[in-house]
Symmetry: C2
Subunit: 438 residues, 2 copies
């Protein structure tokens, strides 16, 4: 594992040794059988697993929002696995429950909530967190939904930007609200929700007899990295008495940067948590325990068992301090700016302005086409081919997608602490190398 | 960490070095600050974290359904942390996605589903899995709920045993079905759902105009470890055209034991998965990728990012083989039987018969009380005090709870592979030592 880590940081190794699913299955015997394997075979399996894995620590891996490997974080994860417990109760995870308590307190302080206000819990990712937010908003307005279900309340509608994360709709589908009751608000060309359109749609929904209960603003949209105007949205939510949620899965950490936190101004006006999930299972949350039961936080969760996620974040935070995170965030944004400036006037690139640097590379064969329709059709196919070639060569990885009426473009997100200016230069050269014949 | 592991298996060390929450917070400076800590301080934090953690590997730790530490499993977890990726797509987790595919195929085979039938996904725990089951059942009967919400359908009702896990109600609350629409079916004295009561309640619900859509049977209830009669329940579900779910979080692994798998006869008749959660986010599940997109399983999940849980199970399975799991399961059940036989006729114990060995210890001062009400009142307080003392001394840990009209009793579950007959003997002696004065 240590050799793998060292190798991962080495730019001369591949980001991925790519193979197609059937190829990997044929090349490796990964089937499960009745008989045990020898320890040697187990080690061979471990080596193969790492050989064909993505090197997410690689300085040129830019594919997802989360990239890079933090050594203290890794150590913390190993310790978490070693402790091998679960967040059920204070009883079985005393330290981790307290570290979650300390960390959530600090996070609320950074958001700007007054002491003693607010609550929180670590959940298995942003999608489930968005679902929690919707649950809380619904519970606040109609607590009877918990017992009586959605048939006891009027038709609820939620609002979110057309650029928001798909988990808002997924959550609405699961919670029995329905995807059609999620009203998508127009975003401006930079991907920010347009407050006047939000208010217009709220009024419209009320006129139809629907009950607006939830606005999900996004601080860092998935594709453009746009920050919705939280202050203006908070004003509208206050006026219409609607729960405001801020999805900060991507951009929330900017709160730790003195230079960039203004982008989240207004986040302190978003809703506070309530315990709407409590079921008081008496085999787990016994009321006659000897310790302060407010530390049995498990009943706030949708889950019963919860993976211990806290230690990794807590230990990294201790090791870096808030200023360490700040430096890391500022550096990522500086690299984004560098990339933006580099391709702004470069031949063969087009780009709308965004926090995530989103851009098209137009190979010479596409660049000069006069037929606009044909040009877009051809351009749409460029990014998938370049990406596939990147994976074949294993040199770098970056994401692409279409958005609205825009054909496939690259979305460059920089969260990898190992990335440097040279890696940005490399990315551009590589895109041109792999795409010039298209 | 290695020293901690070795120590954990040593019976002479404490299971827990127990302290009250405020005490732990005062004793350790765990606050997060702006400035980074030194590496030495980080190591001190790591040591403190392990010092005050529960030793879940300890042979005398019986507190939760999952106990014990498997060394291959731990190695797999470390490797998972090192690979540091996510189950989004095949693109970012090629090996892990394939191992999940292989493992799910094997699991379906063990359940007894025909090849090519069935589907599945690893979710963050049993509670979320039960929620998935309810989602699937609802989607199967009323696919329009996804878009139109619960207001588009008649009132749905779900059925589960009064001994089932609290997550069924939690899920119903979240999904907008409402806890009052979860009808609790009577269980017999061993904790098994009574099929005739199920059918009676289904008919009753239909007469009221409600639509029964979901029956959750339990294979291994949380407290008694009871197995609902799956065949009889499947017959009723078939007759009334209701989705049958089997919650096998606790007892499902008995399918791997030739001796015990009959307890789950009928599980192969439970419902099959459908993709009701799909949202087709185009930034993640691009349709123009170069590989077989059926391996981008992420859109089946409620989550967007998913922790890599597969490797731990897969590597343990390879190292043990199915027969290794079988031996481990058989041994746990043998130890349960040993404990059952040991306390059956022992003075001061009372016990209903269950798979999980549930029992009361009656200290001499309670044992001979003639006033029945007073006796139950006193007995109710015995288990919490003994448990608190166990934690103070740190010698062992076992769970307790009341159930229905039964006062607090111990629930002894044996899943710890390190436990032996001697550890069972120790538990009994320790309960008597700690409780005799009560």
């Amino acid at each position: 594992m240590l050799a793998y880590i060292v190798e991962s940081f080495d730019r001369s190794t591949k980001v991925i040794d790519f193979h197609y699913p059937n190829e990997l299955l044929q090349r490796n015997n990964w089937e499960l059988s009745d008989e045990p394997e020898t320890l040697d075979d187990i080690l061979i399996s471990c080596r193969a697993t790492l050989k064909y894995a993505i090197k997410t620590a690689h300085p040129r891996y830019f594919n997802q929002l989360s990239t890079g490997l933090d050594m203290v974080g890794l150590a913390a994860d190993w310790l978490t696995s070693t402790a091998n417990t679960n967040m059920f109760t204070y009883e079985v995870a005393p330290v981790f429950v307290l570290l979650e308590y300390v960390t959530l307190k600090k996070m609320r302080e950074i958001i700007g909530w007054q002491e003693g206000h607010g609550d929180g819990i670590f959940s298995p990712g942003g999608a489930i967190s968005n679902m929690y937010a919707m649950l809380l908003a619904r519970y606040k307005m109609f607590p009877e939904v918990k017992e009586k279900g959605m048939s006891s309340v009027p038709r609820l509608v939620a609002f979110t930007s057309e650029h928001s994360h798909f988990s808002i709709k997924k959550g609405a589908a699961a919670l029995g609200i329905g995807t059609e009751s999620v009203i998508c608000i127009k975003a401006d060309e930079r991907g920010k929700m347009i407050p006047s359109d939000l208010e217009r749609r709220i009024v419209e929904a009320k006129q139809k007899g629907y009950v607006p209960f939830f606005v999900s603003a996004t601080a860092g949209t998935t594709v453009y990295g746009a920050f919705d105007p939280l202050m203006a949205i908070a004003d509208i939510c206050k006026k219409h008495d609607i729960w405001m949620h801020v999805d900060g899965a991507w951009g929330g950490s900017l709160l730790m940067s003195r230079k960039h936190r203004w982008k989240l101004n207004g986040v302190e006006r978003s809703g506070l948590m309530q315990s709407c999930n409590q079921m008081q299972a008496c085999y787990l949350f016994q009321q006659d325990k000897q310790y302060d039961l407010s530390y049995d936080t498990g009943d706030k969760a949708l889950q019963c068992g919860r993976h211990v996620d806290i230690f990794k974040l807590w230990l990294m935070w201790r090791a870096k301090g808030t200023i360490g995170f700040e430096a890391q965030i500022d550096k990522c944004l500086e690299l984004s700016e560098y990339l933006y400036n580099k391709i702004k006037d470069r031949e063969g690139y087009e780009m709308p302005q965004h926090t995530n640097v989103c851009f098209w590379y137009l190979p010479p064969g596409v660049r000069y086409l006069e037929d606009k329709v044909e040009k877009m059709k051809r351009l749409h196919k460029v990014a998938p081919v370049i990406k596939a070639r990147m994976m074949e060569y294993g040199t770098t990885m970056v994401s692409y997608q279409p958005q609205g009426d825009k054909v496939n473009f690259f979305r460059m997100v920089i969260s990898n602490p190992a990335a440097t200016f040279e890696d940005i230069d490399f990315l551009i050269e590589e895109i041109e190398r792999l795409g010039q014949d298209l």
